[in-house]
């Protein structure tokens, strides 16, 4: 081969390799985007059932239950407006407790139960997962707009301010 055509082969190989890589990246990207929804959005709108999504909010007080003989726990996640039942099997993060902001990643069942594969809590006492804070903020804004006058849980109010 002439040097010129050799160089063409080289450049061609690089372009092909690059396109393959880009396709790979974009494909994987599209499949693995995890969208965030607030409990209200899950209640109101049709949220996809077959995709992994994230929901965030506060662990509703008095809803935490542990199943006998297994490591499965049940609790509700609320944004002050709506609340979603969540089940999770495994070890919860250290800072998980009722009244705290958390983010759960998993799938929504048609029954309305959210089966979490991961639960994220904040990493220190003064810090709130931004997504959980966002859920509370959105719920509060929606409330102010409609002015239904439902009382907001004092915890969620302070959490929003603490963001």
């Amino acid at each position: 081969m002439k040097p010129r055509s050799k160089r063409l082969v080289l450049i061609g190989t690089i372009i092909v390799a690059f396109s393959v890589a880009v396709t790979l990246v974009l494909n994987a990207f599209q499949e693995n985007l995890v969208f965030f929804h607030t409990p209200t959005e899950v209640k109101e709108r049709s949220v996809p059932f077959d995709r992994t999504i994230r929901i965030g909010g506060l662990v509703e007080k008095g809803t935490f239950k542990r199943e006998e003989e297994t490591t499965t726990v049940m609790f509700n996640v609320t944004d002050g407006e709506s609340s979603i039942p969540v089940s999770y099997t495994g070890i919860l993060p250290d800072l998980f407790r009722e009244g705290q902001g958390i983010v759960a990643e998993g799938k929504l069942l048609t029954s309305g139960l959210f089966v979490a594969s991961h639960v994220f809590a904040k990493h220190d006492e003064t810090y709130m997962p931004p997504e959980a804070a966002e859920a509370l903020k959105r719920a509060e804004e929606a409330k102010e707009n409609s002015e239904t006058g439902i009382d907001v849980d004092s915890v969620s109010k302070s959490a929003v301010k603490g963001e």
């Binding site: 790979l24 994987a28 250290d94 931004p130």
Partner: protein, 663 residues
């Protein structure tokens, strides 16, 4: 009084940095030797001022001066001394001061070891480093004063975040910063070369050791962070594709590309503009990292408290750096020229492919990390990109890269034949195939991904042997030894680093492919069986530590009925952070497996707990491999040509031709 002196010293350092960024550069442009000579002195003065300021801040922590807000919120009377010292960098302001101190330290290092450089070059390098210092010290002086006083002095401080009370905290941030900030040197060399219009093999040789040593620090820093997360967080994982992990990993990928591209520029004079571009981008990514951590845009163990002005400052700084350096690049790089040509099958083309793959991998990580942030900033909703994305993209990109690590060392520079390269490879490929078939079977189950990883890892080790044997050919064993001692150290460094990578790859493949995990609820006396080991849970009792109380579990591990070890996973509650229990996993490490137990939650009042038990094969290989990689980096820069020339240069300045290409 002392904190005010510290504040004054910071302002002083700022002024010194301003002078340092002006006069040495002007001197170099106008040929004013006295102005150029100011560079090293200014670098030393700036370093001294910052070191003194840093010492004063540390003293405030050690001496419990809670009138300093930072000490009050991050230290306490009962905090052990080693954590009082490391608490200084356990927060935004203090860690920024450490960052700046390290930057000044690199400046001093450049000033001290640049006697072999033309004075104009070293002056320009110091001037560019001065500009970077101006940016960072300005950031601290204007937005984040570490010496801020409290009006009401508390009797005791708030204590260090319990998560940071770990030996990992003492080493991880300083090492990581040494790496991060070190790329400022590589960047400054590139800028100085562009300004001087002299982008040649000697520029590459000067900047190579700096780049490599920064890379070594970054490698160790990342690995130490990973090792810490593995032991501390109780999740059992060692890499989470967390945005901040990615923030350190992206510059690592580009720096790895830069090291290889610098090799081509030094040996063959090729890839010059590309190398400069990589130096710019690597440094830019370290600032992107600073932005991710310090602007509060992400949820992470690493994120500091939110303050929008800080994020804006870093973004502006980033824009100035990228804008200025790219303008300089656009203005100067076209004059640089192409350098030596090479054929499509040569060491150069293998390294080019290496660079392309590393840059693509880095871009993929960048997209996954930044896309959710950008969408969020535009108010288009919240989303995240999970680990599956990174795994799907990363593994296919890494395999060809690793394959090139097998081929590369045997392909000569400039022009090679496919046949010549592969003839020597047959035994290597055969060994790789054999290992790929047998090794996974020994682990119990054959799997494609594990087999591929073992194939490439074995190949990388194999190619070292094939490359080594002809070089130490001698009649007697003693003869071989003496030839081994005369081997080119940087050639050896390359192979050692590659072998380190191979060992890490085996560790990763085995740990991912054959780990076993169980979350179980156990009452005292209950037994968990895993991978031939028997774990007996003996309950949890209350134990008192220096500034915490601990729920101290006991788990006996037996192998074949014999007691192997007793593990003590803990859940600690620090006095000052009652609401924040910390999980402390307990790990029994050995060459071929880690046994890992962590405590979950107590169940009722019966003494039963949820515990997590892991069997993780070959984890030790992962960390050992990284250590060996770093040793390889250090070997690579201890080559004589980085030192011998220094002495020779003093006597007579050799012409460019005499700097022969050394293989």
């Amino acid at each position: 009084m002392l904190p005010e002196i510290g504040q004054f010293l910071m302002v002083l350092a700022f002024c010194l940095a301003v002078i340092q960024s002006i006069f040495p550069l002007l001197g170099a442009q106008k040929g004013q030797l006295s102005w150029m000579k100011m560079g090293p002195n200014l670098a030393w003065a700036q370093f001294a001022a910052l070191a003194f300021a840093y010492g004063l801040l540390t003293y405030a922590f050690i001496d419990h001066d809670f009138s300093v807000a930072l000490a009050a919120s991050h230290s306490s009377i009962n905090l052990p001394i080693e954590y009082r010292i490391s608490a200084v960098w356990g927060n935004h302001e203090g860690s920024l001061l450490l960052w700046i101190l390290i930057l000044a330290g690199w400046g001093v290092a450049v000033a001290s070891f640049s006697n072999n450089l033309p004075v104009a070059m070293s002056s320009r390098v110091l001037a560019v480093m001065g500009m970077i210092s101006v940016g960072f010290i300005g950031f601290m002086v204007f937005t984040s004063n570490p010496f801020e006083r409290m009006m009401m002095v508390p009797l005791d401080g708030n204590d260090l975040n319990p998560m940071l009370q770990d030996p990992g905290m003492i080493f991880h941030p300083p090492l990581l910063y040494m790496g991060y900030v070190g790329f400022a040197v590589a960047f400054s060399f590139a800028m100085a070369a562009l300004i001087g219009g002299r982008l040649d093999a000697s520029w590459a040789r000067w900047s190579r050791p700096w780049t490599t040593i920064a890379w070594v620090f970054l490698t160790l820093g990342i690995a130490l962070g990973s090792w810490w997360a593995y032991a501390e967080l109780g999740w059992g994982g060692w890499w989470f594709w967390d945005p901040v992990e990615n923030a350190s990993f992206m510059p690592w990928l580009l720096a790895t590309a830069l090291i290889h591209s610098l090799a081509v520029t030094e040996k063959r004079g090729a890839f010059r503009s590309w190398t400069v571009m990589l130096a710019i981008l690597t440094f830019a990514l370290t600032i992107v990292g600073a932005f991710l951590v310090r602007s509060g845009v992400i949820t992470s163990v690493h994120a500091f408290a939110t303050d929008p002005t800080r994020g804006v400052y870093i973004l502006v700084f980033l824009a100035v750096i990228i804008g200025a350096s790219l303008m300089l690049y656009a203005w100067r790089a076209p004059k640089v020229g192409m350098g030596g040509g090479f054929s499509s099958w040569s060491r150069e083309s293998v390294l080019l492919a290496n660079n392309v793959l590393l840059v693509v991998a880095c871009s993929a990580v960048f997209i996954g990390t930044m896309y959710p942030l950008i969408i969020d900033a535009l108010g288009m909703g919240k989303m995240s990109v999970g680990p599956p994305y990174f795994n799907t993209v990363f593994v296919p990109l890494m395999v060809p890269l690793l394959v090139m690590m097998i081929i590369g060392p045997l392909v000569p520079w400039k022009n090679a034949t496919l046949k010549g390269s592969f003839n020597r490879l047959y035994p290597v490929l055969a060994a790789g195939l054999l290992a790929a078939v047998v090794w996974p079977l020994l682990m119990g189950e054959w799997g494609v991904i594990v087999a591929i990883m073992i194939f490439v890892a074995t190949g990388i080790v194999g190619v070292f042997i094939v490359d080594l044997l002809p070089r130490i050919k001698a009649e007697t064993f003693a003869g071989k030894i003496s030839r081994f001692k005369k081997l080119n150290v940087s050639w050896l460094g390359m192979h050692v680093a590659h072998i380190g990578m191979a060992i890490t790859i085996i560790g990763m493949a085995m740990a991912m492919g054959y780990q076993e995990e169980k979350d179980v609820r156990v009452a005292p006396g209950d037994v968990v069986e895993m991978a031939g080991y028997t774990f007996t849970f003996d309950g949890v009792k209350q134990v008192r530590g220096a500034n915490y109380s601990s729920q101290y579990g006991t788990v006996r591990v037996k192998e074949d009925g014999e007691l192997l070890t007793t593990l003590h996973p803990e859940k600690r509650t620090y006095d000052k952070h009652k609401g924040m229990p910390m999980t402390q996993a307990s790990i029994d490490r050995s060459l071929f497996r880690d046994l890992y137990v962590s405590l979950g939650d107590p169940i009722g009042r019966t003494g039963a707990w949820v515990i997590r038990v892991y069997y993780k094969p070959y984890m030790t290989w992962l960390w050992t491999g990284v250590m060996i990689m770093s040793v390889g980096g250090v070997l690579a820069i201890s080559d004589r040509r980085y030192r011998v020339k220094i002495r020779r240069r003093f006597k007579k300045r050799p012409s460019k031709e005499s700097q022969a290409v050394i293989d």
